[in-house]
Symmetry: C2
Subunit: 430 residues, 2 copies
């Protein structure tokens, strides 16, 4: 058996603690699977005295994360500090420069600096592994980089944030509105006190960047990604979606269209009996469309100590077994620079809700605007009639360019009888 | 860039042809991903003159598969002949002995001879890869061996035969009986003229063996696997299942119970809104229960040229990238010998259908038998009442040992009013 693989752990939150448990409890089987022992050489965390429910007494504690990158007895630095800058970025950079492998769950770091870090890792011939950064325990990074390596990937569609999916599911099941469900999720610990990263789609967008880079061989590009979160989703829209047989999901989409690639993070409607429509609560899922594999769906827990530590451990096992692959599937210096298709040109179906005063001529005005933008209506509902009162008109629109629906909504908003900004949600018939 | 990886292809059916297409059409991206070219050095098939829709003129044709194992210019033998004995077994054995990697889609071969072949491969330090042998394009072998390598796997549940799943779905949707749907599936080419391998669960059982070996570190053991196919499933049972909120699926189950492991292939009822309940038509799916990852579900096309070739190609890419792992996750000489928990001791819920004459006292007799076997009833339905006529009594039974339900059914069968062998189907509340 080869010599042990020695880890330096930076950060001992729930994931770090979960990882220590795996290393301790499964030492024998991990060694059998990897052909060598997996050992923890050193650890670093803010509060060494805190009771974490695992025995950490046998490990060397270092004062600063950067020390892990300098230690002779560390082969792999496991970064579980988080954040795209500061200590995490410094540690990962230093570790790679010191010729150490890095395993991280840090999607923000890689979304912002993944390209430079991948170049650095590959220059030093070490691994930069991040299975845990996307969709928790689901082996989607491995699947895209290895399992589907024979495919031209045509699309990746992900439910990548458990908090959002939990909230959308709860809104649908209870009929309650966003603010109420958010408060509840916060009380239950499912949403952060500052929920911005989750509900505004930023966390999910970090993950999409990485999937997109892997799928299409492009440099991860967070800055030009268009992101819409779920704050604007109302119980009304969820209810109407149901009437048309759809569910609303916050979807990260990266797909190939006529040789170009587009990526976007936004709430979409998907058929309720479709693969992604059935992914509820805090589950994550990634739907992959490849030219040979056709379609595949991977579903599982997207967060939590166990699933995330499982993913971190899978990276460690790869390194222990000697597997070091290009960070984004092809050598970093061959990754194409960002060049995304404009969303304006993307064509698809839409859900459109207009809150209007129920008065003669409204529908004629709305129809005329749609006609002028060459948008045609597939179906329409309007519940009740209350002359002179506000009422919602909801339409499912046939395939239309994004620019056209935006243009139509702007014109509709200026109609006197239209009471609020029209709400439109793309439909993905997956 | 390293020197090319050179393939010798044995068998050019739909999968072989699909593989050639991938190698030809994606040469550049495969080389970028693998760091070396993937080349076809030689091919072998029964009828070289047949038009397969791909240009095969550039390759060396050999007369016998075994020649591929002897050629200096072949690094990887890709076995797509099929069958557990004969040419396929001879070729794989010879290739491994010659120190060549083997990639195969041959589940029968590995289910019967996987242990010896794994020992052989590992003795020669070469890879024996079989992603395509289980669940087509779904990267389940890779996920179990690598993605979930940090887990103690507690259970694997698979819908592993597309023909059976297609038929069960069609029976449910049309209400028609097994024979009618089988005929239809044969006419459509979804079922073989001799459908035994599929509908009797043998093909799926081959696959389960491999999953089970990987999940639990045991020698693949086909011979002691208990297999029940779908011939006994009636439209009546599918209809009743629906009334209780279940769907019938042919499930391969390997799971850990109190430190022991059981494996079985049989039709089961699963909740219709569960992860596996939603897997319909020709789709395959594997549900994995691990101590860290919790639950994960992988779904996709289980057969067909594209998905299977995609899986074969992923193995080839692994080899091109230098990844050679223990065939069944741990070194073959450490695989535990077969030692399965007796199904008699497995406890679970059951569906029970009794066809009886509607006459006084029947239910009393049946209830007494259940009481004597300490089986309790969760719910029961009986449609209509036709005194003196046959009627179906259907029950959902609380958790009970397999041996008890078998015993109860034997006793019931001997009651004068019971008209046929009672039908019982296990329920998996996944």
């Amino acid at each position: 058996m080869s010599k042990p693989l020695r880890l330096g752990l930076a950060g001992l939150g729930t994931v770090g603690t979960g990882l220590v448990k795996i290393v301790q409890e499964h030492a024998d089987v991990l060694a059998a699977r990897a052909g060598r022992m997996i050992e923890i050489a050193a650890v670093c965390a803010r509060d060494p005295s805190k009771n974490r429910g695992v025995d950490l007494s046998g490990y060397d504690w270092v004062d600063a994360p950067l020390e892990l990158a300098r230690r002779e007895d560390v082969d792999v630095v496991v970064e579980m500090i988080g954040g795209s800058e500061g200590a995490a970025r410094d540690l990962v950079t230093a570790a790679l420069e010191a010729g150490k492998h890095v395993v991280t769950a840090n999607k923000a770091l890689l979304a912002h600096h993944g390209y430079e870090l991948a170049l650095l890792a590959e220059r030093h011939g070490v691994g930069l592994c991040y299975e845990a950064a996307v969709a928790g325990g689901i082996p989607i990074i491995k699947s895209l980089r290895e399992g589907f390596a024979g495919n031209r990937i045509d699309g990746v569609y992900g439910i990548l944030n458990g908090t959002c999916n939990y909230m959308l599911t709860a809104m649908r099941e209870t009929g309650r509105d966003f603010d109420v469900i958010l408060k509840e999720a916060q009380d239950l610990g499912y949403a952060e006190v500052d929920p911005t990263f989750d509900i505004d789609g930023i966390d999910a967008a970090h993950k999409l960047c990485l999937l997109s880079a892997l799928a299409f061989g492009t440099q991860p590009d967070f800055d030009s990604l268009e992101i819409t979160g779920i704050r604007g989703i109302t119980a009304t829209d969820i209810k109407f979606a149901g009437e048309f047989g759809y569910r609303i999901k916050l979807l990260g989409i990266a797909r190939r269209i006529d040789g170009q690639v587009m990526q976007v993070m936004e709430p979409c409607m998907v058929p309720e009996d479709s693969a992604l429509g059935g992914v509820e609560d805090a589950y994550n899922a990634v739907y992959v469309d490849g030219d040979s594999v056709e379609t595949a769906l991977l579903t599982g827990k997207g967060a939590g100590a166990g699933p995330t530590a499982s993913a971190v451990m899978s990276d460690i096992m790869d390194l222990a077994r000697g597997t070091v692959l290009p960070v984004f599937g092809i050598p970093a210096d061959k990754l194409a620079p960002p060049c995304w298709m404009s969303l304006n040109d993307v064509v698809g179906g839409y859900y459109l809700r207009l809150d209007v005063l129920d008065q003669p001529g409204v529908l004629a005005d709305v129809s005329a605007i749609l006609r002028d933008e060459r948008i045609s209506i597939e179906s329409m509902v309007q519940h009740g009639r209350n002359p002179g009162q506000p009422v919602s008109i909801v339409m499912i629109l046939h395939d239309t360019a994004h620019a056209a629906i935006v243009g139509a909504c702007q014109k509709m908003e200026s109609l006197p009888a239209v009471l609020a900004k029209p709400c439109f949600i793309p439909i993905e018939e997956l």
